[in-house]
């Protein structure tokens, strides 16, 4: 207490705290600074590389579009897709049918044609037909 009062009476403690702020060693600062700068350079180089590739692609697309290359390329791609499709999915499937004596017997029955019932005509005739049906059957 005596020490502090004697040596630092009237001393601004805030100024003392600022002045006595701990400082890192210069070696530590240089090392960490180099690390931070290297990382920044690397990330900047990476983003520059991506930007360059993007720019080159855009220029190429523009150049192609100006001479109608885009349409040509798309039609070529479509043709290629059709060719591939033709190769992968064969059109005519050969069905092997075993010939035998029972082949006619067990052939699938043909579907019967069902005649459509004639629709009753509307109008004058309808009334007459209805009357005929209502008449009792002839018993002899």
């Amino acid at each position: 207490m005596r020490y502090w009062r004697k040596r630092h009476e009237g001393l601004d403690l805030e100024a003392e705290l600022r002045a006595g702020r701990p400082e890192p060693s210069s070696e530590f600062v240089h090392r960490l600074e180099a690390r931070v700068r290297n990382d920044g350079r690397r990330s900047r180089a990476g983003s520059l590389r991506v930007a360059f590739v993007g720019a080159v692609t855009a220029v190429m697309l523009l150049a192609l579009a100006s001479v109608g290359g885009v349409g040509y390329a798309s039609s070529a791609a479509q043709d290629a897709a059709v060719s591939v499709k033709r190769v992968v999915t064969p059109k005519d499937v050969i069905q092997i049918v075993k010939r035998g004596s029972a082949i006619d017997q067990y052939r699938k029955p043909k579907a019967k044609k069902v005649k459509k019932a004639k629709k009753a005509k509307k109008g004058k005739g309808t009334k007459g037909r209805v009357r005929a049906r209502t008449r009792p059957p002839f018993t002899g």
Partner: protein, 169 residues
């Protein structure tokens, strides 16, 4: 639109983060470790820095605070022993620095953090309030009280070495 790099000028930022860590943990390897860890995290998440939320130093101090509160919360404050060195070889300002450092170490965590942010990292009360999610006025009052307690500690705690020197004179 190009984004502003928060670590464009790292040297002053390193010094401020180190000063903050040193006021909280003590000057030395622990503070260096925290500073390194803070910058490693900052490099990893540098794209997440939002200039609208504050200055790069406030962003870094937020990271440093989390580093200390997380893994370093149980670390004891590393104080240099004022009594052990031969005081006749030490400059007066060195003794003073050590005395202040020891007094800061005697403060509680909250006071030490405020002192570290205000006088170590050199943040304004407003910046501290933003960082700690408190009101500026409350921070100013808390800082005033912390300084009062620090004065009390400095007044009561006289270094043994100085007493010895006083006795020899």
């Amino acid at each position: 639109m190009l984004r502003r790099d928060p670590l464009a000028d790292p040297a002053p930022l390193i010094k401020r983060v180190y000063a903050y860590a040193a006021y909280r943990l003590g000057d030395g390897p622990d503070a260096e470790d925290i500073t390194s860890e803070t910058f490693e995290r900052a490099l990893r998440y540098r794209k997440s820095y939002d200039p609208k939320k504050g200055e790069p130093v406030a962003w870094l101090l937020g990271i440093a605070k989390r580093c200390i509160d997380g893994s370093w919360s149980k670390t004891e404050y590393a104080t240099e022993d004022v009594d052990s060195p031969d005081t006749t070889d030490l400059e007066e300002d060195t003794i003073r620095r050590l005395t202040v450092s020891r007094a800061v170490a005697a403060l509680d965590d909250r006071d030490r953090e405020l002192i570290a942010l205000r006088y170590g990292a050199d943040l304004t009360a407003r910046q501290i309030a933003e960082l700690l999610d408190a009101r500026t006025n409350a921070i100013e009052v808390a800082l005033h009280r912390a300084l009062g307690r620090l004065r009390g500690i400095l007044g009561a705690d006289e270094p043994e070495a100085v007493r010895k020197r006083g006795a020899s004179q």
